[in-house]
Assembly symmetry: C2
Homo-oligomer: 300 residues x 2
Amino acid sequence: MSDFNEQRGRAADYFRDLQGRVVAVLEEFDGGGKFREDTWERPGGGGGRSRVLAEGKTFEKAGVNFSEVHGQMAEDFAKQVPGEGRDFTATGVSLVLHPRNPLVPTVHANFRYLTKGDKSWFGGGADLTPYYANREDVIHFHKVWQLVCTRHPAPVDYARFKKWCDDYFYLPHRGEPRGVGGIFFDYLEGDFDQLFAFVRDAGDSFVEAYVPIARRRKDMAYTEQQRAFQECRRGRYVEFNLIYDRGTIFGLKTGGRTESILMSLPPRVRWEYDYRPEPGSPEAELIETYLKPQDWAEME
Amino acid sequence: MSDFNEQRGRAADYFRDLQGRVVAVLEEFDGGGKFREDTWERPGGGGGRSRVLAEGKTFEKAGVNFSEVHGQMAEDFAKQVPGEGRDFTATGVSLVLHPRNPLVPTVHANFRYLTKGDKSWFGGGADLTPYYANREDVIHFHKVWQLVCTRHPAPVDYARFKKWCDDYFYLPHRGEPRGVGGIFFDYLEGDFDQLFAFVRDAGDSFVEAYVPIARRRKDMAYTEQQRAFQECRRGRYVEFNLIYDRGTIFGLKTGGRTESILMSLPPRVRWEYDYRPEPGSPEAELIETYLKPQDWAEME
């Protein structure tokens, strides 16, 4: 258990530092907005630092959260999580970027270290949600994560993490994935140093995975109609996060700070009854071509 | 069980008829929009008829659904519902009205009859969600439901149903009720004819409970800023429906039609990070004065 404390300290230091570095890059990249900072304490133990940029030039809303919390899980919830008892600790960084321009994809990433009873593990991942998808963007995103994974031994495995991501970010009630995937992993147990090296490599690769995509699209002109489509698709993002996302549910059920947890929700959203894109339109192409799991990293 | 069939038939006939009557009143009241009609079949058994008005003059989105479904509940879900086994039937009418004008409250009502194994029961209710609340509106809404309840014997009980509504339409992660309440009831078992008379009385009273409120507010001028506040508050409506609402979860988990279930979601919504109304503003008044359970029906 004293190992857990030392390990958690190292993980938390890394996540805190990663938050600072990512925020610095994104603020510069945004070209107008500034991140505000809110530190908060969790009544049951621990706290966090939320950094949110609202109404920026590139990002309509960008949130990068760090947290380090500990306490007791509610009885019901504790049963669903590995490890004995109800005592837990969790530290991690979580980010969601909602660009203003519908030609730029939304992105989410999260890296975390948890302990509960006799267990400790890493979890995390990164996934891309385009509105007007481009093949080269999707391939680039997946290739970055594939390359990160190939640099680390088992249990790290790009094919497994890619499929896990496709399976996880899926809306059963829509019969549709949230986006074009990426990687997702959870309950990674084993040699701490080895797993921590992988998680650091993944965290350090986030900027490379996303920023080149955003850079080549962010100044492109877009129409009102494209904006409306983005707002409708953002509705699916909300549906996923509130109905299915374990991180959101974990946060809300363990007494996390609501505003920090729900900073993941898009700034402007619409729900149009029974919206269907015109056959053959770019909007239909997103759904028919891109929202289908594929081996993007193997394509050129 | 043959009683259940006959009773379900009568309940379904009433709900179908109520849908038609409410739609006729609302279409005339809207003064511009038309309800479209979609009939749908549920793969596991039964189906429904959705009537939705989008981009009307008064209503930005108004949905009035009728459904009559039957089949088998998923194992996990069946355990959470009274009655033996997994076979169920459900029929009901459900409506959500999202006015365009932020000075007009959103309203929800639902009346339903369910059977599962050896059990059959009525459930339902109606609740009001104002953005800029008026005392007289809230009192009127509650008085209508109180009067309906006083016309029927136990187990019908306004005080109990009012409290049930306050308890049910509550967002723990916000520490806030969804709106100013109304009535809510579930698992009402007993004499079918007696309970059915109450449910019919409640269904028939919906127009009287809501339309006078909407009528006196719908043509009032409003500002961009009031509209923005409405869109932020609508975010809470989405949070409630997707995280907590049993009807939504029931529908999605029993293979209902997604578009009909999610017609309850507001058309335009925003999430602003850590939004706080100015102290002393009408926006603060909503939260401080109206989003607190009170004995509205006893006030003048």
